[in-house]
């Protein structure tokens, strides 16, 4: 069952650094958000593979919106 990484805060998506199928390690940056003139890197918590990316660069997200799904191997 993949786990979803959600946005922590209202922000716009500045960079999407992974695509479905990519392998990630703990602390791999998957998305960079921009909120209030700050870049906020969103990190993978554990190793796994990306099963879905819910956002595109430039879109606005609210706190709690899903960003990326990661499945443990």
């Amino acid at each position: 069952m993949p786990e979803t990484i959600n946005a922590d805060m209202g922000a716009s998506v500045w960079k999407v650094l992974v695509a479905a199928g990519d392998a990630v390690e703990p602390d791999t940056t998957v998305v960079v958000l921009e909120s209030m003139k700050m870049e906020i890197p969103v990190l993978a918590e554990y190793a796994g593979s990306v099963t879905a990316v819910h956002v595109a660069e430039g879109v606005t997200v609210q706190a709690g919106d899903p960003l990326v799904d990661i499945e443990e191997p």
């Binding site: 922590d8 805060m9 209202g10 922000a11 716009s12 921009e34 909120s35 209030m36 003139k37 700050m38 906020i40 606005t60 706190a63």
Partner: protein, 457 residues
């Protein structure tokens, strides 16, 4: 009113500073034009202006950076002057030129002064030529270890041994004597060659305990540069100021005078006109200082200067823009102590941005309390702009009194469910690191690494 001011002022900004500029203009009988992106339509400053025009852009910040659009709105609304506030286009020489080219008055320094101070290397060279101290070490690469030691002796210990291509703290080490320079020079050269593809190494003076102190200046058309005291802005996190106070504590009077003289020389070096701020890095131990940069605009923290001098800097900006000089009878007299706290929409523990809705918003008021805010209940703080939402400023006969006022003011501020750094600010004013004065730029790290001694609710 005998004093000529602009007749109709367009304020090319948003939030608290737009509202604050509009307030002074209204007091002086100057009509105001507010520009706002649609997401800012509900901000109090928009309603308080005589005229409001929507400007468009995507993302919204682009609207406030759109020179052509803003100048067009100024012309269409019959404005005869433009105040840029801070941030956005405030230090954009092209904007200043476009405003002047449209036949309007630019409330700020000349485009040339903006350009000169905007280029860090040029600024440094210009002020150094005017006798203002700049940081030791010219940034020139050193050819060998003996030259490095000679350079270190010239700069004075401790020095920072730095890889020319380094960054983010990599390839930087502190050396406290000649032996250390010999050792670190070779080591840094090796790291630099391996990591940055260049073995160029240079030295800089390392300030272990630094304070950030800045001097407010007003430049007049006849070349006079007036100073209005200094501000201590050492309470910073990620190089962002959180709390500022005036005057700076514990400065030797001779050093204070030298800081003010250096600020005058720096401003004179570029023929500065209107309000500006010269920033210095001051060694907390030796009180030696170097020029950091000059901000060619009104500063966020200008209220502390206003409070201890009994002046309105925006009024003086408008006066200088209109007649090249301060208002007749302008006679600032420094008195008392003032502190400003920046209220930011952010997670109080992690300092992360935290935009959100405002249901409750209650500002403290009373003697010695001034709140410059850009929001009210019923609005939301969006993620599109920086997190500063209000400035809570206090004044007292002395610092003790100002701190007492600060506790009252911070206790009296109610905001929610939007998360803000209010708990951090309230905690800070009870911390001995802050109340005792004598702090340096490490204070936020020091305070956040140690939990509050007592929890008060």
């Amino acid at each position: 009113m005998n004093q000529p001011f602009p007749r109709r002022l367009l304020v090319a900004n948003r939030g608290e500073i737009a509202r604050r500029i509009i307030a002074t203009a209204r007091r002086l009988g100057v009509e105001t034009v507010a520009v706002h992106h649609q997401v800012d339509a509900g901000l109090p400053g928009v309603a308080e202006a005589d005229l409001a025009r929507e400007i468009t852009g995507e993302p919204p910040v682009a609207a406030y950076l759109d020179i052509e659009q803003i100048v067009r709105v100024a012309t269409e609304t019959g404005a005869d002057a433009v105040h840029p506030g801070y941030g956005f286009l405030a230090e954009n020489a092209d904007f200043a030129r476009a405003v002047e080219a449209a036949g309007l008055t630019w409330v700020g320094p000349s485009p040339d002064a903006i350009t000169a101070m905007g280029d860090k290397v040029e600024a440094r060279n210009r002020v150094a030529a005017a006798g203002v101290p700049v940081s030791g070490g010219a940034g020139a690469a050193l050819s060998d270890v003996d030259e490095a030691v000679r350079e270190a002796e010239r700069i004075g210990y401790p020095v920072m041994v730095k890889a020319s291509g380094g960054g983010g703290g990599i390839g930087m080490t502190i050396a406290r004597d000649a032996d250390a320079v010999r050792k670190e020079f070779a080591r840094t050269q090796a790291i630099a060659a391996r990591s940055f593809g260049s073995d160029r190494v240079f030295l800089e003076r390392f300030v272990e305990s630094a304070r950030h102190i800045e001097v407010q200046v007003l430049g007049l058309d006849d070349g006079t540069i007036l100073t209005l005291g200094e501000r201590d802005c050492s309470v910073q996190r990620r190089n962002q100021k959180l709390v500022e106070e005036a005057p700076a504590l514990g400065l030797d009077p001779v050093v204070r005078q030298r800081l003010h003289d250096a600020a005058v020389n720096a401003a004179s070096a570029v023929g500065y006109r209107n309000a500006g701020t010269v920033e210095f890095l001051v060694d907390a131990r030796t009180q030696e200082f170097v020029f950091l940069e000059m901000n060619t605009r009104i500063q966020v923290e200008h209220p502390v200067t206003e409070l201890i001098h009994g002046v309105d800097l925006v009024e003086q900006q408008l006066s200088i823009a209109a007649i090249g000089s301060v208002t007749p009878g302008f006679a600032p007299r420094q008195h008392g102590h003032a502190i400003e706290f920046r209220l930011c929409a952010e997670d109080p523990a992690r300092f992360f941005p935290s935009p959100g809705p405002i249901e409750e918003w209650e500002e403290p008021c009373g003697d010695g309390i001034r709140v410059d805010s850009g929001y009210r209940a019923g609005l939301a703080v969006t993620p599109h702009f920086d997190s500063l939402i209000a400035k809570i400023c206090v004044f007292g006969e002395n610092r003790e009194a100002a701190l007492e006022r600060a506790r009252e003011a911070l206790d009296g501020f109610a905001v929610g469910p939007l998360r803000t750094n209010l708990p951090f600010l309230r905690d800070l004013v009870d911390r001995p690191e802050f109340t005792g004065g004598g702090y340096d730029t490490g204070i936020v790290a020091a305070v956040t690494s140690r939990p509050a001694a007592s929890t008060r609710r």
